[in-house]
Amino acid sequence: MLERICKANKLMDKACQTLGRDINVMEVCGTHTVSIFRSGIRSTLPKHLKLLSGPGCPVCVTDQGYIDLAIELAQRDDCILATYGDMIRVPGSDGSLETKNKNNVKVVLSAEDAIDLAKENPGKTVVFIAVGFETTTPATAVVVKEAAQAGLENFCVLCAHKLVLPAMEVLLSEKNDKIDAFLCPGHVSVIIGSKAYEPIAAKYRKPCVVAGFEPMQIIEGLAEICRQICEGQAEVNSIYDVAVTPQGNTIAQRIISDCFEVTDGWWRGIGKIPQSTLKLKSQYSKFDAYERFGLTEKPAEDKTGCRCGEVLCGLIEPFDCAMFGNKCTPQTPIGPCMVSSEGACAAWYKYGRKRKTS
């Protein structure tokens, strides 16, 4: 293993020398962010190799307006909200699901649990809070199909599933020339396949390397990025072949496209991203909470001064936010990047504060 680390470090050093400036690699996925902090990888990297945390934490990019709608539904006596545990502490404009009507909110570990809840509570409508990227989306698609087949009337989905690729593209196309390459998410890529990144690599000439979440994968992923930079390449490469194929999970892709269509969507801190969010197709509109309750998602204005948007575009580091570590801590989070354990602010708070001052 030591040999592999040395080899990786040599490649990184060489790339930094070749470029003669900082190399900025964005790790798109929140799970990478946490693993990088946890394993202390940052401290082993050459000074000029910088890691930026990206928008791949679903909790962090879910718009306040969406949380507000969920909170609104949780106030209704005829509804039960079924949500993944990650979402309950995320602040909307006024409070979170945890602080507002906790009794109508049930934490589920799988989308199937939401269906079971609906069956157990025929007098209530179970609204499933469907957030997450491509890893999580197939589960929602399967249960919507199941609900349709079973004629389950008291079940619907408040869908805010997001697509990783359009967000990566926005980061590159908007006044942000900071990013040199992407470390692409392991388990999202299991679904979409490594080929999915090819248009980005080709169009923007940025290396895109898929890596698993354990430290050696991350180090070798960074080394592969550096190798490409040295050689002037910008390609897609996966070093996580045990789980990721070029095509991805085609059964999952088919189920997703059966149920959902792509539409514009709001991302917290980033704004509207065209063709970035999923919406249930019209044949499943019965299960669409927006239709059932006549809701429209309005982007909420963030008045807290939280700078999560800039953090997850790689424009600033968490400690550049004046509230970091004083007003805003994991115990008193102001923005979602501090709520989610995968958020860049929470990870920096827990593991990075020492580095900041060094």
Binding site: A139, P215, M216
Partner: protein
């Protein structure tokens, strides 16, 4: 949130499986996989197996999850 957990299929009926991850057993569905069999190691996310994996990768990810769990300090996450 996008971390899937490796687990071994220990029971399987149609697409309904019981899987075992680090000694914890839970339900998962194999709807998204072709030819899932008892004994297969799979990555499970939000109650669904999304791909098969190999022993070595599973072991590494289990180690990682143990470490991350101490980081995340809550058992209510979708990611385990």
């Amino acid at each position: 949130m996008c971390l899937a957990i490796p687990a071994r299929i220990v029971e399987l009926e149609g697409d309904k499986a019981v899987v075992d991850a680090m000694g914890n057993r839970f339900k998962a569905k194999t709807t998204l996989l072709e030819n899932a069999k008892i004994g297969d190691l799979v990555l499970v996310h939000a109650g669904f197996a999304i791909s098969k994996v190999e022993e070595e990768d599973a072991r590494k990810t289990w180690n990682l999850i143990e470490e991350l769990d101490s980081f995340q300090e809550t058992d209510k996450k979708i990611s385990g």
